[in-house]
Amino acid sequence: MMIVRMFLWIALAPLLPGLINKVKAWVAGRKGPPVLQLYYDLIRLWQKGVVLSTLASPAFVVAPAVAWVAIAGAAFLVPLGPAGAGVSFRGDMLLMVYLLALARFCTAWAALETGSAFEGMGTAREVSYAVLAEAAMFAALLSLAVQTGSVSLVAMLSPSAGAGTALLAAGLFIVLLAENCRVPFDDPNTHLELTMIHEAMILDHSGPPLAVILHGASMKLLLYAVFLTAAVLPLGSLPPLAAGAALAGGVLVVALGVGLAESLLARFSFRRVPLLLTMAFLLCLFSLLVAWKGGAA
């Protein structure tokens, strides 16, 4: 069962960026790359050699692997509707968030290995904006915990988020965009700009480590999409099949939303990024207040 679950996460994750790209192509009236493009890229990269910076230590290659394991571990903790979570215990949501932070630490460490100013810039932005994203994420977790009166992901995510659902969904969607480096925070299309965050951090990676980073990023995107869907929809009160379908449908809707946002918005200037993240935090905070003061219990 555990193997099937991990296989699902690992195998399905690269589908999501493909879907988003299809949506973007559709809005722009293009044909776009095949949905499975990322799979092809990953296979190709996995077989390639590696060019290492003369300054880089072995950690440059090892850190992406650790980050990947951390993201996979976090995904393992997220309940998949009727299938539940791989492991569930009191306080597992904290482990999930901190595993994602560990992945951030590893990516940032590997980025600084090269001594390039581009990577330095990207890292500084990533770790700084994460402060606000983390605040929003914890406000969201508190809101779910207060709403449901429980402190484990399975119980927190099975009912809907109550009266503050819309607020929470909006806040979490912004966090999703920020943490996964989508427009308006970052532009996954351009690798060569001074203004990048995440993409600037991986400029010097190549071959298998880059494949691992790209796959980890897609798994993280899927994780946030599943988390957002499960937080919003009352999956626990649906029959198993319907819940599974609702979860899959929700993830597709999130992918559609990301694609539309990417097509219709331009990337924000950096001065406005903290403002948008603060807005995400405030949205989650208001949903927390609604859960606390407006809840029935």
Partner: protein, 643 residues
């Protein structure tokens, strides 16, 4: 137990007495003493009972009364560990060869400091406690000023001494008031004293603990002390302040808002401490400010426990307290590790300025690896120990939030601020680790750095191993923490560990990460590794000065905390053709000290100066003062006497 403690004390005294003649014998005695102390305290923690010993021997007119219970044993374990590893590290780091003038002196004061901290922890009489406390503060002063030829060291030492005594003054008042209310100097649960005394203890011990804004002495003292001294000051000495707050938070009756105030102080210390750390360019000042943050984390846990105690001993309080106490251990371990690492870097490059380092991993790979491990731990990331204690604190606060009781409003902001502090700690330590160890060397000294000797690496490895063990097998330390929680509040005699699954998950994670790292390395090697210049968007001639600097790395959060940090900037842009003399300087002042305490001190000094005018040596005027004083007094007595 008594035998073991007497043996440990005798060892430390012997270490002091032979310090001048033989560094090796002194180290052997220190290690023997600290190891015995460590096992004695651990043995007590793992057993069910506490230890108490009263003697008819009078000291200062008071009976000697010793007590070692769960709470003090937790701290004694930490003091022993850092006392032992630090002494071993100093054998190489502050050796007779390099510092012929002060090495022996350092060993004497080191052992005296460890001994005095041990005494503070077991003495259970107010008068004796104060004596040990004062001796402990003085030992700290002499250790900080070991290198007393440098003026900034003397200045830092003076600041430490002055602030320490401000705290001690409050403690004199506190213990004296305790004694007048209870009629005895004996310490123990004190249900009958008035609750506001808690505030006095909070300030007195808080100055030593160094929470915001009582931390003014801490950055300069920790930065300018020799690194092994910084390690014990940061790892163990400031924990004595925490010990005082924990101890009397458990024994005194609490004011209604004690928990809220402590949790608030903790949250403010956590966020502002790490914001100041982020702004530093001096590695050891960064670590010092990070200690302020971690004291804040401990106080959040303790504040939760105090809040639970005033609200009918709610069960979530025990999680918060357990997290706070475990964080005392964890912070002691990884902060000492990081200070030792900073010492090795300082030893290798001769500077504390991070902007003069870079690329040190090549010269000192072991130090770099151990520092990185410490950085992961201090950022509170799984699977290391920092995460376990923060997880306990979070869980306690989440439980508090889900009860939707009156204290939810204090738990919610504490969780969010703790999360922000955690993310900023990650940023600060990515900055420190990246600027120091990664990239290209920024100066010649950094390029010529050398790895430390085994004598310095082994103590670091021991601390790192402790961090890993607590992280991977938190169940092992749980009985000890549970005992301490039970000693603090007997209602909370907790049994089972709350993290059977967490430990397994962390272990599995570490194993998988190691396997994945190895596998990826092997696969990359098999596909072919080629070394080339950093790509840098195609630029073919990168130089070390083009790398991102520590100042620019911290730019974004510095902007957010501009209101607190008040950076002093000097910026001359390059202008026109052939620009010359452009510069950019930035310094983060110790805002509380330089903007609040120092101006207030200046006003007091001016007033005192003015009062000096009254003393001029003219007898007639002195007689006038006397007459005026007597008249005023008799007038006062006359008016008071009336009904």
């Amino acid at each position: 137990m008594s035998g073991a403690l007497i043996f440990a004390a005798a060892c430390l005294l012997s270490a002091m007495s032979v310090a001048a003649w033989s560094a090796r014998a002194s180290l052997a005695f220190t290690l023997a003493g600290t190891i015995v102390g460590f096992f004695a305290a651990l043995n007590l923690l793992l057993g069910p009972n506490d230890w108490e010993w009263t003697s008819s021997f009078l000291l200062g007119g008071e009976q000697l009364h010793l007590r070692l219970d769960g709470v003090s044993a937790i701290f004694l374990v930490l003091v022993s560990v850092i006392g032992g590893t630090g002494a071993a590290y100093a054998r190489e780091y502050w050796s007779d060869r390099d510092y012929p003038g002060s090495a022996a002196r350092g060993r004497v004061w080191w052992n005296a400091l460890v001994l005095c901290m041990g005494l503070v922890l077991i003495l259970s009489n107010g008068l004796h406690f104060l004596m040990a406390w004062e001796a402990f503060a003085l030992c700290g002063y002499f250790l900080i000023t070991l290198d007393n030829r440098r003026p900034e060291v003397r200045k830092a030492g003076w600041l430490y001494l002055a602030s320490s005594h401000a705290g001690t003054l409050a403690l004199f008042a506190f213990f004296a008031l305790l004694a007048t209310h209870t009629g005895s100097w004996d310490l123990g649960p004190l249900p009958e004293v008035p609750a506001p005394l808690f505030w006095l203890a909070l300030f007195g011990f808080g100055v030593k603990a160094g929470f915001f804004p009582c931390h003014i002495w801490l950055p300069s003292a920790h930065a300018n002390a020799p690194s092994h001294v910084s390690a014990i000051m940061s790892g163990a000495a400031i924990k004595m302040g925490v010990y005082g707050i924990v101890r009397f938070g458990g024994w005194l009756p609490l004011p209604v808002h004690a928990g809220h105030v402590v949790i608030g102080l903790g949250a403010v210390s956590a966020v502002l401490g790490i914001a100041f750390a982020m702004g530093q360019n001096d590695l050891k000042r960064l670590l010092a400010y990070c200690s302020v943050e971690n004291i804040g984390v401990i106080l959040i846990g303790l504040g939760g426990a105090l809040m639970a105690r005033t609200h009918g001993n709610a069960a979530w309080g025990q999680l918060a307290l357990a997290g706070g106490l475990l964080h005392v251990w964890n912070h002691g371990l990884f902060k000492s590790l990081l200070f030792f690492g900073a010492g090795s870097v300082l030893h290798a490059t001769g500077t504390r300025e991070m902007s003069r380092m870079g690329g040190l991993w090549r010269a000192m790979p072991t130090t770099a690896g151990l520092f990185a491990l410490g950085a992961v731990a201090v950022s509170g990331l799984p699977p290391l120990n920092g995460f376990v204690s923060e997880w306990l604190i979070y869980l306690g606060l989440f439980d508090a939030a889900t009860t939707r009781a009156g204290f939810t409003w204090a738990a919610l902001p504490a969780v969010i601020l703790l999360a922000m502090a955690g993310a900023m700690a990650l940023a600060a330590f990515i900055k420190a680790g990246g600027i120091i160890f990664l990239g290209a060397p920024r100066t010649k000294a950094a390029a010529l750095a050398h790895e430390s000797r085994v004598g310095m690496l082994v103590p670091m490895a021991a601390l790192a191993a402790a961090c890993v063990v607590i992280g991977l097998a938190p169940g092992l330390v749980w009985p000890a923490i549970a005992h301490a929680v039970g000693s603090w509040n007997s209602v909370w005699a907790v049994g089972k560990a709350p993290f059977p699954t967490l430990g397994t998950a962390q272990f599995a994670l570490a194993a998988l990460a190691a396997a994945a790292g190895f596998f990826l390395w092997r696969n990359s090697r098999a596909n072919g590794l080629r070394r080339d210049l950093t790509w840098d968007c195609g630029y073919r001639n990168p130089i070390a000065r083009m790398q991102y600097t520590s100042g620019s790395f911290a730019g974004i959060p510095l902007g957010w905390f501009f209101w607190a940090l008040r950076p002093e900037r000097k910026f001359r842009r390059p202008r026109g053709p052939f620009p010359a003399g452009s510069l950019r300087l930035e310094r983060i002042p110790e805002t509380v000290l330089e903007r609040l305490v120092a101006p207030a001190g200046a006003v007091i000094a001016r007033l005192s100066q003015a009062a000096l005018g009254l003393q001029h040596g003219r007898l007639q005027a002195y007689i006038l003062y006397l007459v005026a004083g007597l008249t005023a007094m008799s007038l006062f007595v006359f008016l008071e006497g009336k009904p």
